[in-house]
């Protein structure tokens, strides 16, 4: 049997899962080979030289030996590791959402150069931006474009009438904006004027420019909802990492309520002691 040539490629590590006692299976995303699954041997041991280079959300140059079912990582050098993505839980959550989108929408061994460039660029922007959420919106809009689900923002997706910023709706199932007349007939969800303007602005602007826009909480929640529904339409399923995003949003409230419940209990105990 002819010996297969080793693969050398740049790639971003999308995720890992444990294998046996000391190994991990890494899901890599390469511009020339698409999604690759490769075993990183011994990376759960403290002295592993590979371990730091194969962490999720790391871009590196990899050497892979082709195995029967899985490749084996023989060498790895970090190209970019975006430390701030790992140091800040908000950035980390948004980065994971991007990685999951790519992981679930790409095939094994299928070249996807433009999507790779988009992911690498977006992770870099996310690492430096003041608005992690805006970076994810910006990425999602371009991801949908590349996957053939480009949301229509200029004309009503139902009647093709040209749309103005006010009174519109958004229908992820139909693929974009619906005019006030069609929205009045019950098509899509309400799309506020600020959300509509921001969607259009994001499409023609850089990630950095998008992050500069001040967005109120209502518009932010609205954009989250519309883009999530479009994403789910493209993936034909829900993003698992979306659940953590919601948990994180509730985290401070949970902490505050636990603290006030404890303070209340303490007051009651003090009152009982006095009586």
């Amino acid at each position: 049997m002819p010996r297969q040539r080793p693969i050398r490629t740049e790639a971003i590590v999308l995720r890992q899962r444990p294998l046996g006692d000391a190994d991990r299976i890494c899901v890599l995303f390469s511009p020339t080979r698409g999604r690759l699954e490769a075993v990183a041997k011994g990376v759960r041991r403290p002295l592993s030289k590979l371990s730091g280079h194969v962490q999720p959300l790391t871009c590196g140059r990899f050497g892979l030996a082709q195995g029967r079912s899985l490749h084996v990582i023989t060498e790895a050098v970090t190209v970019e590791s975006w430390p701030s993505l790992h140091d800040d839980v908000d950035r980390l959550t948004e980065a994971l959402a991007m990685a999951e989108l790519v992981d679930r929408s790409t095939d094994l061994d299928a070249a996807s150069g433009p999507l790779y460039q988009l992911l690498r660029h977006s992770l870099g922007e996310l690492a430096g931006t003041a608005s992690p959420r805006a970076a994810r919106w910006w990425f999602t809009l371009r991801f949908l474009d590349q996957q053939g689900y480009r949301p229509e923002l200029d004309a009503c997706v139902r009647c093709r009438a040209e749309v103005k910023p006010e009174g519109n709706g958004y229908s992820a199932a139909d693929g974009g904006v619906v005019c006030p007349t069609c929205q009045g007939a019950g098509v899509g969800l309400r799309l506020s004027s600020p959300a509509f303007r921001l969607l259009r602005y994001m499409r023609r602007s850089s990630c950095d420019a998008t992050a500069q826009v001040r967005v109120d909480a209502d518009t932010s929640a609205e954009l989250d909802r519309h883009l999530r529904l479009s994403m789910e339409q493209a993936l034909d399923g829900q993003l698992r990492s979306g659940g953590f995003l919601k948990s994180l949003e509730r985290a401070e409230a949970i902490g505050r309520s636990a603290a006030s419940a404890a303070a209340e209990r303490e007051r009651e105990e003090q009152d009982r002691a006095v009586v």
Binding site: R15, Q55, I254, G255, A259, A262
Partner: protein, 209 residues
Amino acid sequence: MQRSPATAPTIARLIEAFHRLPGIGPKSAQRLAYHVLRAPRAEAEALAEALLEVKDSTRLCGGCQNITDADPCAICLDPQRSASSICVVEEPLDVAAIERSGVYRGQYHVLHGAISPMDGIGPEDLKVRELLARLGDASVDEVILAMNPNLEGEATAGYLSRVIGAMGVRITRIAHGLPVGADVEYADERTLRAAMTHRVEVEQRDGGG
């Protein structure tokens, strides 16, 4: 696993049972099964009893959530240990590892896992609610986050920092950097960055002149 007609069904069942254990491949499972078969009856009985006993008599400690056969566990009951700090770990084995180091004399809290957003494992799947209840009731000054320095550990530490931060308790995280015996030249950028950021002062010996 495919059964061979050359293997008696009872042995095949034992091989399959061993094969289901983590890290045990088909060959190791076979070796273990035949070892049990050849061993004296008393040894096989001791193994079977130990397996049943571990299932029957262990439970989670009501305080730290570690696996124990007495509730509260020995660590939670030890009056010599400080009650003002809680070290939060992912798994029971992490408690054993930190105890081996002998450097920590406070309390623990075992989460029984880590948040893994891409696998859909969230805080509600871990012993987070129990931790918050302990922090509310006890006079804890410090929570030490001893999660693994990987993506799941970072997500877990980030989430807990946010929740516990809102309760006004001091939060620290164990340092990470180069492991003992490692080579600087092979270290990745993030590890080196962490090692440099968390570097410590070298104690100067008094010259005595």
